[in-house]
C-alpha cells in the first residue's frame, strides 16, 4: 500500500485530468448550437400558378422547418408583375428564390452562360422543381368571334414582355400556324403583339378596348370572364401541348451556401403541391387571401375566381413537381426562344435543372 500522501495526490490529479477531458469534450464537440440567421429573398407573381408558394408562406412552413435545422429564417417576399422584371432583379443579385416562368428562368441561365463566356460571373439560376404545366389562355374582347388563329390577323394582342412564357408561346404558336406576329411598328407583321409589364395592365387594356386580346396566366382569364371583359378562346395547353409553365428556382449562391435550406424548399414545395390536391378548399382560401391582397380585390371575389379556376380549369393547369418530366418541354422552349432571338446561347438541360435534390426527397419518402 503506497503512502497516503501519494494516493491523495494521484486521486486529485486523475480527477482533474478526467474533468478537463470531459469539459474539453463538451466544449469542442457538443456545443449547444446557436441558430444561424438567414434572410431568404423570395419572389413570385400574383398568379395561382404560384399557389404552392402562397401555401408555404402563409403557413410559415419555411420558418418552422428551418428552425429545426438550426436556422433563424426571415423570409422577405418580393412580388413581381411578370417574369422578366423578376429575372432582371435576380441577375442583379437581389433574389435567392424564384417562383417564375420557365422561359424567364431559361433566359436567366442563358444570360449566365453568356457572361461566363465573356469571362465574368453573374448569379446563376437552378431549377429545382416544377410548379405546374399550362395555365395561360388567350382572352378575346367579348364582341370578337374566335375562328382559329387566322381570325386574329390584323388584331392587337397584349401579353407579357419578351422573354416571358406567354410571349414565347404566343409567337411560337402564331408562327407555327403560318402567321407573322410582330410589334406595332413592324411593316411585315400581320398580327401585332404589344408587350405590357403585368396582368393588371392587360385587364385595363382589354376592358377599355385598346387591345383586341390578351394572352395571360390564370387567374386573369377567369377574372376577365367573370367581369365580362372578355372570353377565353384558346388555352396555352392547346397551343403547346404539355408545356411546363412555372418553376421553382434558386440561385447557385444560395444553394452552395445553404444546401440544406435549398433541399428544404423543394421538400416544402412537394408538400404544398400535395396540399393543393388533398386540401383543395383550404388551398383556395389561402390563394384567395393572397391574391386579393396582391390584386386589390375583395376576398369574396377572389375566392369565387379561384373556385372557377379549379372547377372549370379552362386554362388546363396541372400541378406536378417532378423536374425530369419537364425536360422535353424545357428543351422545346430553349429551341423556340433561340430561334426567336430571345436568347443567344442554348443552355443544356443539365445547365437548367438540378434533378438530384428532388430525387433525394422522393427517396427519403413521406
Amino acid at each position: 500500500m503506497p503512502p497516503l500522501k501519494t494516493v491523495k495526490i494521484a486521486a486529485i490529479l486523475i480527477t482533474t485530468i478526467l474533468a478537463s477531458l470531459t469539459a474539453t469534450y463538451f466544449v469542442v464537440f457538443n456545443k449547444p448550437v446557436e441558430p444561424r440567421h438567414v434572410t431568404i429573398k423570395f419572389s413570385y407573381q400574383p398568379s395561382d400558378h404560384h399557389l404552392p408558394a402562397f401555401i408555404m408562406l402563409s403557413k410559415k412552413w419555411i420558418e418552422s422547418e428551418a428552425a429545426r435545422l438550426g436556422y433563424n429564417v426571415t423570409v422577405v417576399e418580393k412580388p413581381f408583375p411578370s417574369g422578366p422584371p423578376q429575372v432582371e432583379r435576380f441577375l442583379a443579385g437581389d433574389i435567392d428564390v424564384m417562383y417564375v416562368g420557365a422561359a424567364p428562368a431559361i433566359s436567366a441561365v442563358a444570360k449566365y452562360l453568356e457572361a461566363k463566356q465573356a469571362g465574368r460571373s453573374i448569379p446563376q439560376a437552378i431549377i429545382v422543381a416544377i410548379a405546374q404545366y399550362h395555365g395561360s389562355a388567350l382572352v378575346l374582347k367579348p364582341e370578337l368571334k374566335y375562328a382559329g388563329p387566322e381570325s386574329l390577323i390584323g388584331k392587337v394582342i397584349a401579353t407579357y414582355p419578351p422573354g416571358s412564357i406567354q410571349y414565347t408561346i404566343m409567337i411560337n404558336w402564331l408562327q407555327n400556324n403560318g402567321l407573322k406576329p410582330g410589334d406595332l411598328g413592324d411593316p411585315n407583321a400581320n398580327i401585332y403583339i404589344k408587350p405590357v409589364s403585368g396582368p393588371q395592365e392587360q385587364v385595363e387594356l382589354l376592358s377599355t378596348g385598346k387591345v383586341d386580346a390578351i394572352l395571360t396566366p390564370s387567374p386573369t382569364p377567369e377574372i376577365c370572364e367573370i367581369k365580362n371583359i372578355g372570353k377565353i378562346a384558346v388555352s396555352s395547353g392547346d397551343m403547346v401541348l404539355n408545356h411546363p409553365c412555372c418553376v421553382l428556382a434558386v440561385s447557385r449562391e444560395f444553394y452552395e451556401k445553404y444546401p440544406d435550406l435549398a433541399k428544404l424548399l423543394v421538400k416544402l414545395h412537394v408538400k404544398a403541391e400535395r396540399y393543393i390536391t388533398e386540401n383543395t378548399v383550404e388551398a383556395i382560401e389561402i390563394g384567395a387571401s393572397k391574391l386579393s391582397e396582391l390584386w386589390g380585390y375583395n376576398i369574396t371575389f377572389t375566392r369565387y375566381v379561384l373556385m372557377k379556376v379549379f372547377t372549370d380549369n379552362k386554362t388546363r393547369i396541372i400541378f406536378n413537381p417532378d423536374p425530369s418530366r419537364a425536360e422535353n418541354g424545357l428543351t422545346m422552349f430553349v429551341n423556340a426562344m433561340y430561334n426567336m432571338g430571345l436568347i443567344k446561347i442554348k443552355p443544356e438541360v443539365n445547365d437548367l435543372i438540378n434533378k438530384s435534390i428532388y430525387s433525394e426527397i422522393i427517396k427519403e419518402g413521406s
Partner: protein
C-alpha cells in the same frame, strides 16, 4: 481655331471610349457595363430595324412638339404681356410644371384612344414648359423704351404686341424652343414605355431580354438624334438672330 476645337473634341470622345472599355474589362460595375465593341456590334446587328423605329419616335416627337409650340407660345406671350392673363395662368403652370411627364402616363392612357396620341401628349408635356417659360420671360422683359417709342410714333396696342414685343422676345422664344426640343426628345422613352412603337419601346423590350448591349445601342441612337435636333434649332436661331450684338459664336 476651329480645327483645334474639333481635334480636342475628337480626342475627348476617344478617351471616353477607352475609359469605358477599361471600366467594362475591369468589371468595376458588376456585369452591367457592356463593352464598347459589344455595343458597336449590337448597333450593326440592329441596323436594319433602327430606321423604322426612328421614324416612329420622330413622328411621336413632331406631333407632341408641334402642339407644344401652338399652345405654349401664345400662352407664354399673353401671360408675359398682360398682367391679368399672367395672374390667371401662371399659378396653374407653376403647380403643374414640377410633375414629371412619366407621372402623367396613367392619365394619358385613360384619356387617349390611340397609342400615338398618348405618346405625343407625353412629349407635349415635356416640351411645353421650357417654351412657355422662355416666351413668358421674353414678353415680360420687353424694354420699356421700345414700347414708349412705338407709342410716340402712333402705334396701336396690337401693333406694339406684334411688331415690337414679339421681335424683342424672339431670342428668348428660340432659346425656349431649343430647350423644349431637348426635353421633349428625352421624353421619348417615357412616351413609348407603354407600347407605342419606337426607340423607347425597344429599350424596354431589350431590357426584358436582359440585352444590355442593345439597350446601350438604342440609348446612343436616342442621344445622337437628340443632339442633331438641338443643333438644327441652334442653326435656325443663329440665322434668325443675326442682328444680335456680339455674334462671335461657334456653331
Amino acid at each position: 481655331m476651329k480645327f483645334r476645337y474639333n481635334l480636342l473634341s475628337l480626342l475627348s470622345i476617344i478617351i471616353f471610349i477607352l475609359l469605358w472599355e477599361l471600366a467594362s474589362e475591369a468589371q468595376v460595375l458588376p456585369a452591367v457595363l457592356p463593352k464598347p465593341i459589344d455595343v458597336a456590334y449590337s448597333i450593326h446587328r440592329l441596323m436594319d430595324k433602327i430606321p423604322i423605329y426612328t421614324y416612329h419616335s420622330i413622328s411621336h416627337f413632331i406631333a407632341g412638339f408641334t402642339i407644344a409650340l401652338i399652345v405654349a407660345i401664345p400662352a407664354g406671350a399673353l401671360s408675359g404681356w398682360y398682367y391679368s392673363v399672367r395672374a390667371f395662368v401662371k399659378p396653374i403652370v407653376e403647380i403643374i410644371r414640377p410633375i414629371p411627364p412619366i407621372a402623367w402616363i396613367p392619365f394619358v392612357l385613360i384619356s387617349f384612344r390611340s397609342d400615338f396620341e398618348a405618346s405625343a401628349i407625353i412629349i407635349f408635356i415635356g416640351s411645353f414648359f421650357p417654351i412657355f417659360t422662355n416666351t413668358f420671360l421674353g414678353f415680360s422683359n420687353v424694354p420699356l423704351e421700345y414700347v414708349e417709342i412705338a407709342k410716340t410714333l402712333g402705334a396701336g396696342d396690337l401693333d406694339i404686341l406684334i411688331k415690337v414685343a414679339l421681335p424683342s422676345s424672339l431670342p428668348s422664344i428660340l432659346s425656349g424652343i431649343r430647350t423644349g426640343v431637348g426635353v421633349g426628345w428625352m421624353c421619348v422613352v417615357a412616351a413609348e414605355m407603354f407600347g407605342p412603337p419606337g426607340l423607347g419601346l425597344q429599350i424596354m423590350n431589350m431590357r426584358y431580354l436582359h440585352d444590355i448591349s442593345a439597350v446601350t445601342a438604342y440609348m446612343l441612337v436616342i442621344g445622337v438624334i437628340g443632339f442633331t435636333l438641338e443643333r438644327i434649332v441652334r442653326i435656325v436661331e443663329i440665322k434668325t438672330l443675326k442682328w444680335q450684338k456680339g455674334f462671335v459664336r461657334q456653331v
